[in-house]
Symmetry: C2
Subunit: 234 residues, 2 copies
DNA sequence: ACATTTTCTGCGGGAACCCGCAATGGCGCA
DNA sequence: TGCGCCATTGCGGGTTCCCGCAGAAAATGT
Protein backbone atom coordinates (compact mmCIF):
# COMPACT_ATOMS: atom_id res chain seq x y z
CA UNK A 1 0.00 0.00 0.00
CA UNK A 2 1.36 3.42 -1.01
CA UNK A 3 0.51 6.54 0.97
CA UNK A 4 1.17 10.21 0.24
CA UNK A 5 1.40 12.79 3.02
CA UNK A 6 0.76 16.41 2.08
CA UNK A 7 1.83 18.70 4.89
CA UNK A 8 3.98 21.81 4.85
CA UNK A 9 4.76 21.91 8.54
CA UNK A 10 7.78 19.73 9.11
CA UNK A 11 6.87 18.83 12.69
CA UNK A 12 3.36 17.81 11.85
CA UNK A 13 4.61 15.93 8.83
CA UNK A 14 7.02 13.92 10.94
CA UNK A 15 4.27 13.22 13.44
CA UNK A 16 1.95 11.82 10.79
CA UNK A 17 4.69 9.86 9.10
CA UNK A 18 5.55 8.28 12.42
CA UNK A 19 1.93 7.52 13.21
CA UNK A 20 1.44 5.89 9.82
CA UNK A 21 4.45 3.62 10.11
CA UNK A 22 3.40 2.64 13.62
CA UNK A 23 -0.25 1.99 12.91
CA UNK A 24 -0.18 0.73 9.35
CA UNK A 25 2.57 -1.82 8.75
CA UNK A 26 0.74 -2.65 5.53
CA UNK A 27 2.10 0.55 4.06
CA UNK A 28 5.03 -0.23 1.82
CA UNK A 29 5.87 3.27 0.64
CA UNK A 30 5.32 6.73 2.04
CA UNK A 31 5.87 9.89 0.03
CA UNK A 32 5.79 13.41 1.34
CA UNK A 33 4.74 16.59 -0.48
CA UNK A 34 4.99 20.03 1.06
CA UNK A 35 2.73 22.08 -1.18
CA UNK A 36 -0.12 21.84 -3.60
CA UNK A 37 1.92 21.55 -6.78
CA UNK A 38 4.06 18.78 -5.40
CA UNK A 39 0.97 17.03 -4.12
CA UNK A 40 -0.78 17.06 -7.48
CA UNK A 41 2.29 15.89 -9.37
CA UNK A 42 2.96 13.12 -6.88
CA UNK A 43 -0.66 12.04 -6.86
CA UNK A 44 -0.81 11.98 -10.64
CA UNK A 45 2.32 9.96 -11.14
CA UNK A 46 2.78 8.00 -7.96
CA UNK A 47 -0.29 5.79 -8.03
CA UNK A 48 -1.16 6.27 -4.36
CA UNK A 49 -4.19 4.56 -2.92
CA UNK A 50 -4.41 6.89 0.04
CA UNK A 51 -3.47 10.42 1.02
CA UNK A 52 -3.21 12.32 4.27
CA UNK A 53 -3.56 16.01 3.58
CA UNK A 54 -3.41 19.20 5.59
CA UNK A 55 -6.15 21.61 4.56
CA UNK A 56 -4.08 24.71 5.22
CA UNK A 57 -1.23 24.92 2.80
CA UNK A 58 0.74 27.81 1.51
CA UNK A 59 -0.36 28.10 -2.06
CA UNK A 60 -3.94 27.31 -2.87
CA UNK A 61 -6.05 25.37 -0.43
CA UNK A 62 -6.40 21.72 0.30
CA UNK A 63 -9.92 21.41 -1.04
CA UNK A 64 -8.94 22.54 -4.51
CA UNK A 65 -6.00 20.17 -4.39
CA UNK A 66 -8.31 17.34 -3.40
CA UNK A 67 -10.71 18.20 -6.20
CA UNK A 68 -7.88 18.00 -8.71
CA UNK A 69 -6.63 14.71 -7.32
CA UNK A 70 -10.07 13.16 -7.23
CA UNK A 71 -10.79 14.37 -10.76
CA UNK A 72 -7.82 12.32 -11.90
CA UNK A 73 -8.16 9.29 -9.63
CA UNK A 74 -11.55 9.22 -7.95
CA UNK A 75 -10.92 6.11 -5.90
CA UNK A 76 -8.14 7.69 -3.84
CA UNK A 77 -8.92 7.77 -0.14
CA UNK A 78 -8.09 11.04 1.52
CA UNK A 79 -7.80 11.81 5.19
CA UNK A 80 -7.97 15.54 5.82
CA UNK A 81 -6.00 16.64 8.83
CA UNK A 82 -6.78 20.16 9.84
CA UNK A 83 -6.33 22.74 12.53
CA UNK A 84 -9.87 24.03 12.28
CA UNK A 85 -13.36 22.67 12.75
CA UNK A 86 -14.96 24.92 10.14
CA UNK A 87 -18.29 24.07 8.60
CA UNK A 88 -16.97 25.67 5.45
CA UNK A 89 -14.34 22.97 4.99
CA UNK A 90 -16.75 20.13 5.55
CA UNK A 91 -19.22 21.59 3.06
CA UNK A 92 -16.49 22.08 0.53
CA UNK A 93 -15.28 18.52 0.89
CA UNK A 94 -18.64 16.81 0.87
CA UNK A 95 -19.46 18.58 -2.37
CA UNK A 96 -16.49 17.10 -4.18
CA UNK A 97 -15.99 13.66 -2.69
CA UNK A 98 -16.63 11.06 -5.37
CA UNK A 99 -18.82 8.01 -4.89
CA UNK A 100 -15.94 5.61 -5.29
CA UNK A 101 -13.83 7.02 -2.54
CA UNK A 102 -13.67 7.38 1.19
CA UNK A 103 -12.53 10.31 3.22
CA UNK A 104 -12.07 11.46 6.77
CA UNK A 105 -11.67 14.65 8.71
CA UNK A 106 -9.49 14.70 11.83
CA UNK A 107 -8.47 17.68 13.86
CA UNK A 108 -4.83 18.23 14.67
CA UNK A 109 -5.80 18.55 18.30
CA UNK A 110 -7.02 14.96 18.32
CA UNK A 111 -5.05 12.46 20.33
CA UNK A 112 -2.51 10.23 18.68
CA UNK A 113 -4.86 7.30 19.18
CA UNK A 114 -7.69 9.02 17.38
CA UNK A 115 -5.37 9.93 14.53
CA UNK A 116 -4.25 6.31 14.28
CA UNK A 117 -7.83 5.13 14.35
CA UNK A 118 -8.71 7.48 11.53
CA UNK A 119 -5.68 6.40 9.54
CA UNK A 120 -6.74 2.77 9.73
CA UNK A 121 -10.44 3.43 9.22
CA UNK A 122 -10.11 5.73 6.23
CA UNK A 123 -6.91 4.81 4.47
CA UNK A 124 -7.04 1.07 5.01
CA UNK A 125 -10.69 0.19 5.58
CA UNK A 126 -12.15 2.83 3.29
CA UNK A 127 -14.64 4.11 5.84
CA UNK A 128 -15.98 7.63 6.18
CA UNK A 129 -14.88 9.18 9.44
CA UNK A 130 -15.64 12.67 10.59
CA UNK A 131 -14.52 14.29 13.78
CA UNK A 132 -17.33 14.75 16.25
CA UNK A 133 -16.67 18.48 16.47
CA UNK A 134 -17.76 18.77 12.83
CA UNK A 135 -20.50 16.22 12.72
CA UNK A 136 -23.06 18.70 13.99
CA UNK A 137 -22.95 20.35 10.60
CA UNK A 138 -23.94 17.14 8.85
CA UNK A 139 -27.56 17.31 10.04
CA UNK A 140 -29.52 16.74 6.87
CA UNK A 141 -32.96 17.13 8.38
CA UNK A 142 -31.96 20.05 10.35
CA UNK A 143 -33.30 21.73 13.48
CA UNK A 144 -34.07 24.86 11.45
CA UNK A 145 -30.70 26.45 12.07
CA UNK A 146 -28.64 24.62 9.47
CA UNK A 147 -28.42 26.04 5.99
CA UNK A 148 -29.78 23.90 3.20
CA UNK A 149 -28.00 23.60 -0.10
CA UNK A 150 -29.75 26.42 -1.92
CA UNK A 151 -29.39 28.79 0.99
CA UNK A 152 -25.71 28.02 1.14
CA UNK A 153 -25.37 28.70 -2.57
CA UNK A 154 -27.03 32.07 -2.10
CA UNK A 155 -24.76 32.75 0.85
CA UNK A 156 -21.73 32.17 -1.34
CA UNK A 157 -22.99 34.59 -3.96
CA UNK A 158 -23.89 37.15 -1.33
CA UNK A 159 -20.40 36.79 0.13
CA UNK A 160 -18.89 37.54 -3.26
CA UNK A 161 -20.74 40.84 -3.26
CA UNK A 162 -23.24 40.01 -5.99
CA UNK A 163 -26.48 41.91 -5.99
CA UNK A 164 -29.88 40.26 -5.95
CA UNK A 165 -30.42 40.42 -9.68
CA UNK A 166 -27.11 38.75 -10.41
CA UNK A 167 -27.70 36.03 -7.84
CA UNK A 168 -31.07 35.34 -9.42
CA UNK A 169 -29.41 34.97 -12.78
CA UNK A 170 -26.70 32.63 -11.49
CA UNK A 171 -29.13 30.45 -9.56
CA UNK A 172 -31.92 30.54 -12.15
CA UNK A 173 -34.39 31.98 -9.69
CA UNK A 174 -36.63 34.98 -9.74
CA UNK A 175 -35.54 38.10 -7.97
CA UNK A 176 -38.16 37.69 -5.28
CA UNK A 177 -37.15 34.12 -4.56
CA UNK A 178 -33.57 35.15 -4.06
CA UNK A 179 -34.81 37.70 -1.58
CA UNK A 180 -36.77 34.99 0.20
CA UNK A 181 -33.61 32.90 0.42
CA UNK A 182 -31.78 35.86 1.83
CA UNK A 183 -34.57 36.31 4.32
CA UNK A 184 -34.28 32.79 5.64
CA UNK A 185 -30.52 33.15 5.60
CA UNK A 186 -30.83 36.19 7.83
CA UNK A 187 -33.14 34.26 10.12
CA UNK A 188 -30.89 31.25 10.40
CA UNK A 189 -27.80 33.30 11.00
CA UNK A 190 -29.71 35.00 13.80
CA UNK A 191 -29.39 38.51 12.50
CA UNK A 192 -32.69 40.00 13.53
CA UNK A 193 -32.83 38.58 17.01
CA UNK A 194 -30.06 40.86 18.14
CA UNK A 195 -31.52 43.88 19.87
CA UNK A 196 -29.70 47.11 19.28
CA UNK A 197 -30.19 49.35 16.30
CA UNK A 198 -30.79 48.11 12.80
CA UNK A 199 -27.82 46.66 10.95
CA UNK A 200 -26.94 46.28 7.31
CA UNK A 201 -28.19 42.74 6.94
CA UNK A 202 -26.08 41.85 3.97
CA UNK A 203 -22.80 42.71 5.57
CA UNK A 204 -23.96 41.33 8.88
CA UNK A 205 -24.79 38.03 7.24
CA UNK A 206 -21.26 37.72 5.87
CA UNK A 207 -19.82 38.72 9.22
CA UNK A 208 -21.90 36.14 11.07
CA UNK A 209 -21.22 33.41 8.54
CA UNK A 210 -17.51 33.92 9.03
CA UNK A 211 -17.70 34.08 12.79
CA UNK A 212 -19.82 30.93 12.83
CA UNK A 213 -17.25 29.24 10.57
CA UNK A 214 -19.80 28.66 7.82
CA UNK A 215 -17.40 30.52 5.55
CA UNK A 216 -13.67 31.05 5.75
CA UNK A 217 -10.90 32.59 3.73
CA UNK A 218 -10.42 29.49 1.58
CA UNK A 219 -14.11 29.35 0.80
CA UNK A 220 -14.09 32.96 -0.32
CA UNK A 221 -11.08 32.39 -2.54
CA UNK A 222 -12.60 29.31 -4.13
CA UNK A 223 -15.93 31.02 -4.66
CA UNK A 224 -14.16 33.97 -6.22
CA UNK A 225 -12.24 31.77 -8.62
CA UNK A 226 -15.40 29.89 -9.53
CA UNK A 227 -17.25 33.15 -10.11
CA UNK A 228 -14.54 34.48 -12.40
CA UNK A 229 -14.66 31.27 -14.40
CA UNK A 230 -18.45 31.51 -14.61
CA UNK A 231 -18.24 35.08 -15.80
CA UNK A 232 -16.06 34.08 -18.76
CA UNK A 233 -18.80 31.82 -20.01
CA UNK A 234 -21.68 33.84 -18.57
CA UNK B 1 16.02 36.53 32.71
CA UNK B 2 12.64 34.82 32.79
CA UNK B 3 10.76 33.99 29.62
CA UNK B 4 7.24 32.71 29.06
CA UNK B 5 6.27 30.76 25.96
CA UNK B 6 2.59 30.73 24.99
CA UNK B 7 1.96 28.09 22.35
CA UNK B 8 -0.68 25.39 22.17
CA UNK B 9 1.01 23.25 19.55
CA UNK B 10 3.38 20.94 21.32
CA UNK B 11 5.79 20.61 18.41
CA UNK B 12 6.09 24.30 17.87
CA UNK B 13 6.42 24.85 21.59
CA UNK B 14 9.31 22.44 21.79
CA UNK B 15 10.94 24.10 18.80
CA UNK B 16 10.79 27.53 20.39
CA UNK B 17 11.89 26.29 23.78
CA UNK B 18 14.90 24.67 22.14
CA UNK B 19 15.71 27.78 20.15
CA UNK B 20 15.55 29.93 23.26
CA UNK B 21 17.86 27.77 25.28
CA UNK B 22 20.30 27.61 22.39
CA UNK B 23 20.33 31.27 21.52
CA UNK B 24 19.76 32.92 24.89
CA UNK B 25 21.91 31.40 27.63
CA UNK B 26 21.02 34.47 29.68
CA UNK B 27 17.57 32.98 30.21
CA UNK B 28 17.41 31.45 33.65
CA UNK B 29 13.83 30.23 33.64
CA UNK B 30 11.38 29.25 30.92
CA UNK B 31 7.69 28.71 31.54
CA UNK B 32 5.19 27.34 29.07
CA UNK B 33 1.48 28.14 28.80
CA UNK B 34 -0.82 26.43 26.34
CA UNK B 35 -3.82 28.74 26.28
CA UNK B 36 -4.92 32.25 26.99
CA UNK B 37 -6.02 31.75 30.57
CA UNK B 38 -2.79 30.04 31.55
CA UNK B 39 -0.85 32.76 29.78
CA UNK B 40 -2.55 35.60 31.65
CA UNK B 41 -2.22 33.92 35.02
CA UNK B 42 1.44 33.09 34.44
CA UNK B 43 2.18 36.58 33.17
CA UNK B 44 0.44 38.19 36.12
CA UNK B 45 2.18 36.13 38.76
CA UNK B 46 5.43 35.03 37.21
CA UNK B 47 7.17 38.34 36.70
CA UNK B 48 8.40 37.58 33.20
CA UNK B 49 10.40 40.16 31.32
CA UNK B 50 9.72 38.62 27.96
CA UNK B 51 7.12 36.47 26.23
CA UNK B 52 6.99 34.50 23.01
CA UNK B 53 3.38 34.08 21.95
CA UNK B 54 1.54 32.33 19.17
CA UNK B 55 -1.24 34.52 17.80
CA UNK B 56 -3.54 31.62 17.01
CA UNK B 57 -4.69 29.97 20.19
CA UNK B 58 -7.71 27.95 20.99
CA UNK B 59 -9.72 30.21 23.21
CA UNK B 60 -9.63 33.91 22.51
CA UNK B 61 -6.91 35.36 20.35
CA UNK B 62 -3.35 36.35 21.03
CA UNK B 63 -3.91 40.06 20.60
CA UNK B 64 -6.47 40.24 23.37
CA UNK B 65 -4.15 38.19 25.56
CA UNK B 66 -1.32 40.61 24.81
CA UNK B 67 -3.54 43.58 25.60
CA UNK B 68 -4.37 42.10 29.00
CA UNK B 69 -0.75 41.33 29.74
CA UNK B 70 0.45 44.75 28.68
CA UNK B 71 -2.30 46.42 30.69
CA UNK B 72 -0.87 44.77 33.75
CA UNK B 73 2.86 45.00 33.01
CA UNK B 74 3.50 47.38 30.10
CA UNK B 75 7.25 46.84 30.00
CA UNK B 76 6.97 43.19 29.01
CA UNK B 77 8.58 42.44 25.68
CA UNK B 78 6.52 40.20 23.46
CA UNK B 79 7.60 38.33 20.37
CA UNK B 80 4.59 37.24 18.33
CA UNK B 81 5.15 34.06 16.43
CA UNK B 82 2.49 33.42 13.87
CA UNK B 83 1.50 31.31 10.94
CA UNK B 84 0.03 34.19 9.01
CA UNK B 85 1.24 37.45 7.54
CA UNK B 86 -2.04 39.28 8.02
CA UNK B 87 -2.21 43.04 8.03
CA UNK B 88 -5.03 42.68 10.52
CA UNK B 89 -2.71 41.25 13.14
CA UNK B 90 -0.09 43.92 12.71
CA UNK B 91 -2.69 46.67 12.97
CA UNK B 92 -4.15 45.12 16.05
CA UNK B 93 -0.77 44.84 17.71
CA UNK B 94 0.53 48.27 16.84
CA UNK B 95 -2.61 49.76 18.35
CA UNK B 96 -1.99 48.23 21.75
CA UNK B 97 1.77 48.10 22.13
CA UNK B 98 2.78 50.40 24.99
CA UNK B 99 5.57 52.97 24.79
CA UNK B 100 7.65 51.20 27.40
CA UNK B 101 7.82 47.91 25.60
CA UNK B 102 9.27 46.23 22.57
CA UNK B 103 7.69 43.68 20.34
CA UNK B 104 8.39 41.59 17.29
CA UNK B 105 6.52 39.63 14.67
CA UNK B 106 8.05 36.52 13.17
CA UNK B 107 6.44 34.03 10.86
CA UNK B 108 6.55 30.36 11.68
CA UNK B 109 7.91 29.73 8.23
CA UNK B 110 11.01 31.76 9.04
CA UNK B 111 14.28 29.92 9.31
CA UNK B 112 15.62 28.90 12.68
CA UNK B 113 18.28 31.56 12.35
CA UNK B 114 15.76 34.29 11.81
CA UNK B 115 13.78 33.11 14.79
CA UNK B 116 16.91 33.15 16.92
CA UNK B 117 17.77 36.61 15.66
CA UNK B 118 14.33 37.85 16.60
CA UNK B 119 14.53 36.22 19.99
CA UNK B 120 17.74 38.05 20.77
CA UNK B 121 16.70 41.34 19.22
CA UNK B 122 13.30 41.59 20.84
CA UNK B 123 13.47 39.67 24.08
CA UNK B 124 17.02 40.56 25.06
CA UNK B 125 17.83 43.80 23.28
CA UNK B 126 14.35 45.30 23.38
CA UNK B 127 14.27 46.18 19.70
CA UNK B 128 11.26 46.31 17.42
CA UNK B 129 11.48 43.66 14.73
CA UNK B 130 8.91 42.96 12.10
CA UNK B 131 9.04 40.31 9.45
CA UNK B 132 9.61 41.72 6.01
CA UNK B 133 6.46 40.06 4.71
CA UNK B 134 4.46 42.34 6.96
CA UNK B 135 6.48 45.49 6.77
CA UNK B 136 4.77 46.58 3.60
CA UNK B 137 1.71 47.38 5.67
CA UNK B 138 3.66 49.76 7.87
CA UNK B 139 3.93 52.44 5.17
CA UNK B 140 2.79 55.55 6.97
CA UNK B 141 3.09 57.85 4.00
CA UNK B 142 1.53 55.43 1.72
CA UNK B 143 1.39 54.98 -2.02
CA UNK B 144 -2.36 55.63 -1.90
CA UNK B 145 -3.29 52.02 -1.45
CA UNK B 146 -2.78 51.71 2.31
CA UNK B 147 -5.65 52.50 4.61
CA UNK B 148 -5.16 55.34 7.01
CA UNK B 149 -6.33 55.14 10.58
CA UNK B 150 -9.78 56.66 10.09
CA UNK B 151 -10.48 54.57 7.04
CA UNK B 152 -9.54 51.46 8.95
CA UNK B 153 -11.87 52.45 11.78
CA UNK B 154 -14.71 52.84 9.30
CA UNK B 155 -13.79 49.50 7.76
CA UNK B 156 -14.15 47.84 11.14
CA UNK B 157 -17.58 49.36 11.68
CA UNK B 158 -18.65 48.44 8.18
CA UNK B 159 -17.47 44.89 8.79
CA UNK B 160 -19.64 44.69 11.89
CA UNK B 161 -22.64 45.47 9.73
CA UNK B 162 -23.32 48.97 11.05
CA UNK B 163 -25.14 51.32 8.77
CA UNK B 164 -23.87 54.73 7.79
CA UNK B 165 -25.79 56.64 10.43
CA UNK B 166 -24.49 54.43 13.23
CA UNK B 167 -20.92 54.66 11.98
CA UNK B 168 -21.24 58.43 11.92
CA UNK B 169 -22.38 58.37 15.50
CA UNK B 170 -19.57 56.11 16.66
CA UNK B 171 -16.88 58.07 14.87
CA UNK B 172 -18.33 61.52 15.54
CA UNK B 173 -18.59 62.35 11.90
CA UNK B 174 -21.37 63.55 9.71
CA UNK B 175 -23.23 61.08 7.56
CA UNK B 176 -21.73 62.47 4.40
CA UNK B 177 -18.19 62.21 5.71
CA UNK B 178 -18.69 58.58 6.56
CA UNK B 179 -19.83 58.05 3.02
CA UNK B 180 -16.70 59.79 1.79
CA UNK B 181 -14.60 57.45 3.90
CA UNK B 182 -16.46 54.51 2.48
CA UNK B 183 -15.82 55.88 -0.98
CA UNK B 184 -12.07 56.02 -0.49
CA UNK B 185 -12.24 52.61 1.15
CA UNK B 186 -13.88 51.23 -1.96
CA UNK B 187 -11.23 52.86 -4.10
CA UNK B 188 -8.32 51.54 -2.08
CA UNK B 189 -9.71 48.05 -1.92
CA UNK B 190 -10.00 48.21 -5.70
CA UNK B 191 -13.68 47.52 -5.90
CA UNK B 192 -14.70 49.62 -8.84
CA UNK B 193 -11.83 48.77 -11.10
CA UNK B 194 -13.15 45.27 -11.58
CA UNK B 195 -15.06 45.10 -14.80
CA UNK B 196 -18.09 42.87 -14.77
CA UNK B 197 -21.48 43.89 -13.51
CA UNK B 198 -22.06 46.12 -10.54
CA UNK B 199 -21.51 44.62 -7.13
CA UNK B 200 -22.84 45.37 -3.69
CA UNK B 201 -19.95 47.54 -2.60
CA UNK B 202 -20.45 47.08 1.10
CA UNK B 203 -20.28 43.33 1.02
CA UNK B 204 -17.57 43.40 -1.60
CA UNK B 205 -15.49 45.64 0.62
CA UNK B 206 -15.66 43.16 3.46
CA UNK B 207 -14.90 40.31 1.10
CA UNK B 208 -11.86 42.10 -0.34
CA UNK B 209 -10.61 43.20 3.06
CA UNK B 210 -10.63 39.61 4.20
CA UNK B 211 -9.02 38.27 1.08
CA UNK B 212 -6.34 40.94 1.29
CA UNK B 213 -5.76 40.00 4.94
CA UNK B 214 -6.67 43.47 6.16
CA UNK B 215 -9.25 41.75 8.35
CA UNK B 216 -9.40 38.25 9.72
CA UNK B 217 -11.56 36.18 12.02
CA UNK B 218 -9.82 37.41 15.15
CA UNK B 219 -10.27 41.02 14.10
CA UNK B 220 -13.96 40.50 13.60
CA UNK B 221 -14.34 38.86 16.99
CA UNK B 222 -12.45 41.62 18.73
CA UNK B 223 -14.38 44.33 16.95
CA UNK B 224 -17.62 42.60 17.84
CA UNK B 225 -16.70 42.43 21.51
CA UNK B 226 -15.63 46.05 21.48
CA UNK B 227 -18.88 47.07 19.81
CA UNK B 228 -20.97 45.24 22.37
CA UNK B 229 -19.08 46.97 25.14
CA UNK B 230 -19.60 50.33 23.44
CA UNK B 231 -23.29 49.68 23.09
CA UNK B 232 -23.67 49.18 26.84
CA UNK B 233 -22.39 52.69 27.43
CA UNK B 234 -23.72 54.05 24.13
C1' DA C 1 -58.87 13.04 -6.81
C1' DC C 2 -59.07 16.62 -3.55
C1' DA C 3 -57.48 19.48 0.20
C1' DT C 4 -53.65 21.49 2.60
C1' DT C 5 -49.29 23.19 3.03
C1' DT C 6 -45.15 24.99 1.18
C1' DT C 7 -42.57 27.35 -2.26
C1' DC C 8 -42.17 30.57 -5.96
C1' DT C 9 -43.27 34.93 -8.11
C1' DG C 10 -44.81 39.89 -9.12
C1' DC C 11 -45.99 44.46 -7.21
C1' DG C 12 -45.30 48.35 -4.42
C1' DG C 13 -43.44 51.26 -0.93
C1' DG C 14 -40.31 52.85 2.57
C1' DA C 15 -35.53 52.83 3.99
C1' DA C 16 -30.72 52.65 3.14
C1' DC C 17 -27.07 53.32 -0.01
C1' DC C 18 -24.04 55.51 -3.62
C1' DC C 19 -22.53 59.58 -5.43
C1' DG C 20 -22.39 64.22 -8.08
C1' DC C 21 -22.59 69.07 -6.99
C1' DA C 22 -21.66 72.96 -4.28
C1' DA C 23 -20.70 75.66 -0.03
C1' DT C 24 -17.92 76.03 4.04
C1' DG C 25 -13.80 76.11 6.81
C1' DG C 26 -9.26 74.96 8.12
C1' DC C 27 -4.18 74.58 6.70
C1' DG C 28 0.10 75.49 4.44
C1' DC C 29 2.81 78.32 1.40
C1' DA C 30 4.32 82.25 -1.28
C1' DT D 1 -2.44 88.68 3.76
C1' DG D 2 -4.15 86.16 0.05
C1' DC D 3 -4.38 82.08 -2.61
C1' DG D 4 -5.09 77.33 -3.45
C1' DC D 5 -5.76 72.67 -1.67
C1' DC D 6 -8.21 69.35 0.86
C1' DA D 7 -11.34 67.52 4.34
C1' DT D 8 -16.01 68.09 5.88
C1' DT D 9 -20.85 68.78 5.39
C1' DG D 10 -25.61 69.39 3.28
C1' DC D 11 -28.82 68.42 -0.53
C1' DG D 12 -30.92 65.80 -4.10
C1' DG D 13 -31.72 62.06 -7.07
C1' DG D 14 -31.21 57.47 -8.91
C1' DT D 15 -30.49 52.77 -7.45
C1' DT D 16 -30.58 48.83 -4.55
C1' DC D 17 -32.37 46.57 -0.68
C1' DC D 18 -35.84 44.77 2.63
C1' DC D 19 -40.19 43.05 3.21
C1' DG D 20 -45.53 42.80 3.46
C1' DC D 21 -49.23 41.27 0.56
C1' DA D 22 -51.43 38.18 -2.46
C1' DG D 23 -51.89 35.10 -6.29
C1' DA D 24 -49.77 31.03 -8.93
C1' DA D 25 -47.38 26.79 -8.91
C1' DA D 26 -45.63 22.76 -6.82
C1' DA D 27 -45.26 19.44 -3.24
C1' DT D 28 -47.46 16.69 0.20
C1' DG D 29 -51.02 14.23 2.78
C1' DT D 30 -55.49 11.71 2.96
Amino acid sequence: MKVLVVEDDQFHARYVLDAISEELPEVTEIAHAINRDEAEIEARTGGFEAIVMDLQMEQGNGIDAARAIWAHSPQTRILFWSNYADEAYLRGISQIVPEASAYGYVLKTATRDRLKLALRAVLFEGQIMISRELYQYQRHRQPSSALDKSEYAVLLDLALGLQDKMIAERQNLSLRTVQNRLQSLYDKLGIDEEDGPALNKRVRALNCAIRKKALNLQTLESAEAEYQRWRETQ
